[in-house]
Symmetry: C2
Subunit: 332 residues, 2 copies
């Protein structure tokens, strides 16, 4: 029997789910609802109708969870509500596919972790979806195969067009900050590609030049000292010009003892003892297909809950560093 | 009458001078000498003979300065001796073209500044020579013309092949550290391109994976908070594979309120309201020709002493941050 899926909110990347619903017959979307921000869910409601013309719409997500009793909840309200919505789902033993950051404050993150470890065998996966792109997947494969030797230094970059944003973007409390919303991908790559723990971070961010978006930060840099003296930066901005050929300019450069690998412009470049080469890309994977597999016990390649919690902590500590203008330790 | 030039040591980039001597008739190399490290000067002696077969060779640079009484001294002994050699030159009112870093410790830097300000109208120029490459010069021109608007974020990168190094590289006291030797270019670009002052720095460095080069650091990252909340990183490494197509992989990415400019692979890429473009490069300039012009009162485009001192301070503070594992303030 196909898994029943409900979607909460429409701020994030629930498009992975509505798209997968069109071809993946192992699940269907039974209903969608507003998030706690009560900003509506029209976009995701329409998006869900293409696979299920009978999809229901709720205003209250708690009512939806208790009425529909879904197998999987897709959580993407305003970021500031992610933790509480995730906790409500986990309390009901519902599997979760959550937008990142899964929490925006350390105390909420702790409560979320408690709820996860108290739940009974649920899958808790986050939308660190850039891992699944053909270029990042190819980079990971090469690094794991030893293409650069021991990783010694990394530079991650996220650069987005700003455009005109409203809703959560205009209120830092609801949004969580740009280091969390945009930077979490970059910080995830640092951990995912190296497997090294974070030790200390010093970050800088600013909302200057944000074209009237209240306190929205549009530039940030982070410097992490990681395990084994690995040095790692994350550069994050919302200043990519409207005229740029793509929305994002995602990059990572991984410098190891025997090689340098770089993801840039959707390609993967490697220089090592075999000379220079452009690596073949992997197949594009929809992360929600992997969540469905995991829920069905079929070895889905999901972003593990432990990774998500750890990277979320790193993002929150980096934001704290930028806010408080000091180094933040991960051992505190 | 042509200016008389002496060269001290052979560790740095005195090749700019021996090369210019072959076509620039406004100066000649009268003599060369060992630096205080007494590691010889054979390479620079031979290099000087192509323009002056009668060039003299000294073992003691003080004796050379006092005997030859040159107009300009070219200073490139082991880095740890740069400050004291520069001071000896300035005391004698000799113009200086010095390898960077011009000092490796803050107290030496202070003494050097005192010697410079006490000297009578000398030109003190440093070998921040990458500024003079056709691509960095083109980047500077575009930025000064407003191509990116107000600078908000910068990422600078220096990546070198290590090869097999000896001499000063094997002793941190004589070498000064990789943030100073390699990173000083990157840190110079941050200041030169933006004109912003540094406020705080947090840096990480490591000598792991240095292939038997004692305490030589081969990886480092710096995160600077600059004036006006500008965020800036410098990524520095000696891990560029031997098989790479060039010795260095110099880059800078400058993100502004209205555009993004990037120097990479000897090209300059700009995206702003006019779309994407590759900028025309500037003419290649030999920095020593500019020093000679400056000494002759002909508006030489040199790296000003004040810039050199300030960037040297920034490099030393960044190295202190990495050594002491804490944020270093520039207002302390």
């Amino acid at each position: 029997m196909a898994l029943k899926v409900c979607i909460i909110g429409m701020t994030g990347h629930s498009g992975y789910v509505t798209k997968a619903a069109e071809y993946n017959k192992d699940f269907y979307i039974s209903a969608v609802s507003d998030g706690p921000e009560k900003a509506g869910c029209e976009k995701v409601f329409k998006g869900s109708q293409s696979s299920n013309p009978d999809v229901k719409k709720y205003e209250d997500y708690i009512e939806m969870l208790d009425t529909e009793k879904p197998d999987i909840a897709v959580v993407n309200p305003y970021c500031g509500y992610n933790a509480q919505v995730n906790i409500e789902c986990l309390k009901r033993n519902i599997h979760v596919f959550s937008e990142k950051p899964v929490a925006t404050e350390l105390d909420e993150l702790e409560k979320l972790k408690e709820a996860y470890y108290a739940a009974d065998g649920v899958v808790f996966a986050s939308m660190m979806a850039i891992r699944y792109t053909p270029w990042f997947a190819a980079a990971k494969k090469a690094i794991d195969a030893g293409a650069v030797g021991d990783i010694r230094l990394m530079n991650a970059q996220k650069s987005y067009r700003l455009g005109k944003r409203d809703g959560m973007y205009l209120d830092r409390k609801l949004y969580g900050g740009t280091i969390l919303w945009v930077g979490s991908h970059a910080i995830d790559w640092l951990y995912w590609l190296s497997g090294k723990k974070f030790e200390e971070v010093f970050a800088v961010h600013s909302s200057k030049a944000n074209k009237g978006h209240n306190d929205l930060e549009v530039s940030a840099t982070c410097n992490f000292r990681m395990e084994d003296e690995v040095a790692a930066t994350a550069s994050i901005d919302f200043l990519r010009p409207a005229e740029a050929p793509s929305h994002d300019d995602d990059r990572v450069r991984v410098v190891g003892s025997t090689g340098v690998l770089e993801v840039r412009g959707g390609q993967v470049y490697l220089i090592n003892e075999n000379g220079e080469q452009t690596l073949p890309l992997e197949e594009r994977v929809n992360p929600f297909d992997e969540v469905v597999k995991a829920v069905l016990g079929n070895n889905g390649d999901i972003v593990k809950a432990e990774d998500t919690f750890y990277v979320t902590e790193a993002c929150i500590r980096a934001r704290m560093s930028a806010d408080e203008k000091k180094v933040i330790s991960f051992n505190a």
